[in-house]
């Protein structure tokens, strides 16, 4: 990356402010005085107990670690469970469909479940509670949440049924040692990415020029991020599929080229974890994936490339420069009888301290902009400033990569098969056309009733 900044407070402030302006991480209205805190009655719902459904990940570990402190502060008992991602999604769908979910609070993946949650009326609108001074702590400061992240969580009807707490930007991890050894510069465009990958590809030494997800379903975000380089998403604003357009085919061809010609053997079956392992062992020069997967790369007990990892913003495509955005939100079950207690819980686990703890732990990118203003945390981080630069610069150009439709999983499945077949040598245009024809009725049906 050429735009590396020095880790000055001013630079970081400027970065965070720019994020807010770009709509990705919000405004610089951050640290409000905590004096008003004393006036807020956290004990108002003392004695109540709430159930929380979480996805198994490091962020949920942090939530659970904070439960004791929350109970001491509020007198509200929390019973939370972490369920692996796929099973958590199934549990949420089935329990919400029953009309009487067993939990008061649930986390969801916005990139998969957002529209499903709206259609099924899963969550209560948080906006009235945010505005209610008797329910919302004065230091909560909703404006601190990035405008882009909030827009991502907000439903088409304007309801904010989940509060975003984590955003993930897709970027390019690269092995600086391998780049330097071959005198290759970090690519400035998506097309250059393929050229660089070809130069770095060295099967004899067991090094792939590029690695990314090839496994059906998991591979769709990779392609979707490349589609963003054409200035479009996989569906139009009106919900029309753009998956067999020349732009989408171009992205499919690039995906095929990168993975088939310069990917490791067997990448057709790789999910993020296989990609991570391959890259971490120094067997791949570049890896396109979410910035949330960075933590083990700098862990000497797991990685052979500690200190050699470069963090680059996804290069621009022919028509646009975007970083694919994904994220998680947390909301209150519409049927919960303890909405107020649940809202106190959500306020607490998304407060500034918790969001900073997320950043410190390398558990992901927080949705609050104030976390990025803590220079002490950033300077002490094992990731180094290039990581934070990448994070901040990606946030500036972030755009939802997956379509905001109800059947996201089917979309990923159908187009995932097409992309897998493409890596296997099938014609990209034909595969995308076939997939589009197969998925169009599913999408049309999902929009009915």
């Amino acid at each position: 990356m050429t735009e590396i900044l020095k880790p000055t407070r001013r630079g970081l402030l400027r970065g965070a402010a720019a994020l807010g302006a770009s709509g990705a991480i919000a405004s610089p209205l951050v640290l409000r005085e905590a004096h008003a805190q004393a006036a807020f009655n956290w004990k108002r719902f003392s004695g109540q107990s709430i159930d929380v459904l979480l996805v198994k990940n490091p962020r949920s570990d942090l939530f659970q670690a904070a439960e004791k402190e929350f109970t001491e502060l509020t007198g509200i008992k929390v019973s939370s469970e972490q369920v692996p991602e796929q099973q958590q999604r199934q549990k949420a769908v089935i329990e919400f469909a029953s009309g009487k979910p067993s939990f008061d609070v649930s986390a969801i993946s916005l990139h998969v479940q957002k529209r499903m949650a709206a259609k099924g009326k899963w969550f209560a609108d948080l906006s009235p509670m945010i505005k209610d001074a008797s329910l919302t702590s004065p230091d909560f400061n909703f404006e601190d949440f990035g405008a882009g992240a909030v827009a991502y969580a907000r439903q088409a009807d304007g309801a904010l049924d989940t509060l975003p707490y984590f955003v993930d930007y897709w970027m390019v991890y690269y092995n600086k040692e391998l780049f330097d050894a071959k005198g290759v510069a970090f690519p400035k465009t998506m097309d250059e990415m393929a050229v660089a990958a070809a130069k770095l590809h060295d099967p004899a030494k067991g090094v792939a020029g590029f690695v990314s997800r090839g496994l059906k379903n998991a591979n769709v975000p990779v392609w979707a991020c490349l589609v963003l380089g054409q200035g479009i998403e996989t569906t139009s604003a009106e919900g029309k599929l753009l998956t067999d357009t020349p732009e989408a085919i171009w992205a499919g061809e690039l995906y095929k080229k990168l993975n088939k010609d310069t990917g490791p053997v067997g990448s057709v079956g790789f999910n993020w974890n296989e990609c991570q392992t391959t890259f971490m062992q120094g067997r791949a020069a570049m890896w396109l994936d979410g910035i949330g997967f960075a933590t083990p790369l700098e862990d000497p007990s797991k990685s052979r490339i500690v200190g050699k990892v470069g963090y680059g913003v996804t290069p621009p495509g022919p028509k646009a420069h975007h970083a694919g955005m994904f994220g998680d939100g947390i909301g209150i079950s519409r049927g919960s009888a303890k909405k107020e207690a649940a809202w106190l819980y959500i306020q607490f686990i998304t407060n500034k301290a918790q969001q900073l703890a997320m950043l410190k732990a390398g558990a992901g990118a927080p949705a609050r902009s104030s976390a990025y203003l803590d220079t002490a945390t950033i300077e002490a981080s094992k990731f180094g400033k290039q990581y934070f630069d990448c994070l901040l610069n990606s946030a500036k150009i972030a755009r939802a990569a997956l379509p905001q439709i109800v059947p996201v999983t089917e979309f990923r499945d159908v187009f995932g098969v097409a992309l897998t077949n493409a890596i296997g040598g099938a014609d990209v245009a034909a595969e995308l056309k076939k997939a589009t024809e197969a998925f169009a009725p599913v999408l049309a049906k999902s929009e009915q009733g």
Partner: protein, 309 residues
């Protein structure tokens, strides 16, 4: 051993027995079977009837429900992924039955003979069977990794290049069968070994006197006598292979693409990923019919294989 003499009255035929109590107790006996009938009806019959009913509905969790008659079955017949998954299921089942039967029978013949450390080696041989399928699948997944897996490392030691294993559509099912064979051959070995242990000596002695060699004795004595046990192993393996899900799901999730998508994986996707309950129920009904037909075939074969006294 003690001998018992029955009283003369107990030897009287039923026809001659005095009609001590001619009352009909049948209605009261039915009461005793009622709990079992209720349990069977609630946990087997009702779910089945409900599945049958659901297969005629267009219902997606979170959406409306509508009666569509046989439309789900018509759509399945036109669904190339469903047809493909049926093919994968039969391919997988045939290999997952035949290979463990062959290797398990061979292993049973070896372990039936006396040799040093036989007990120890037999114990080691059956160990894979004791492992949890999901744990087994996770370990094999690591071993199959094309760059970092131990299998390709071992191949490299003998000059063979890296293989894609489960990461290639062409090799994924045979590779999954490798795991299945490793895991379940010991079960077949144990069943067949049990059969071998109970074989009479006399036919072999007669055959030796008649000049039969080892192959003749195996072909014409051992195999026919042990065949009922092999049939039991075939039935068990067929049921196991048809319902295989955990290993495939953990290792490949049906991929690459749809290359290892069996009926169970297809069903899981429809029901628990896409939440199309009506469509998934239709898959279950078809799968049930296939299993019933196969079971009848196997039961018939097993009946035919019984020893003739």
């Amino acid at each position: 051993m003690t001998s018992t003499t029955l009283p003369a009255s107990s030897l009287t035929s039923p026809a001659q027995a005095p009609a001590a109590d001619s009352r009909d107790f049948t209605p009261r006996y039915w009461l005793f079977s009622l709990p079992a009938v209720l349990i069977v009806a609630s946990v087997i019959v009702f779910p089945w009837l409900f599945t049958l009913y659901m297969s005629t509905q267009d219902w997606k969790i979170g959406g409306g429900q509508e009666f569509v008659g046989l439309q789900n079955f018509v759509e399945l017949a036109r669904d190339p992924r469903f047809i493909e998954s049926m093919g994968h299921t039969f391919y997988y089942t045939v290999l997952a039955v035949v290979l463990p039967i062959l290797f398990g029978t061979a292993a049973a013949l070896v372990f039936h003979r006396e040799f040093p450390f036989r007990g120890l080696l037999r114990t080691i041989f059956v160990m894979p069977m004791m492992a949890t399928p999901v744990a087994v699948a996770l370990v094999w997944t690591m071993m199959f990794h094309p760059q970092l897996g131990v299998l390709n490392y071992l191949l490299s030691l003998v000059g063979i290049g890296p293989q894609a294993w489960v990461y290639s559509p062409g090799t994924v099912i045979p590779t999954l069968i490798l795991v299945e064979v490793w895991h379940w051959t010991p079960l077949v070995m144990l069943i067949v070994l049990g059969g071998l242990a109970g074989l009479p000596r006399e036919p072999y002695e007669s055959a030796l006197i008649d000049g039969a060699n080892a192959w003749h004795m195996f072909r014409h004595i051992t195999l026919p006598l042990v065949w009922p046990f092999i049939m039991v192993a075939i039935v068990i393996r067929t049921i196991d292979a048809l319902k295989a899900f955990d290993t495939i799901f953990v290792i490949t999730q049906g991929g690459p693409g749809t290359a290892s998508e069996t009926l169970n994986i297809f069903l899981y996707l429809q029901a628990f990923q896409f939440y199309k309950i009506g469509y998934a129920s239709a898959v279950v009904v078809i799968f049930f019919v296939i299993i019933i037909m196969l079971s009848l075939l196997l039961l018939y074969a097993r009946q035919k294989s019984k020893w003739n006294a």
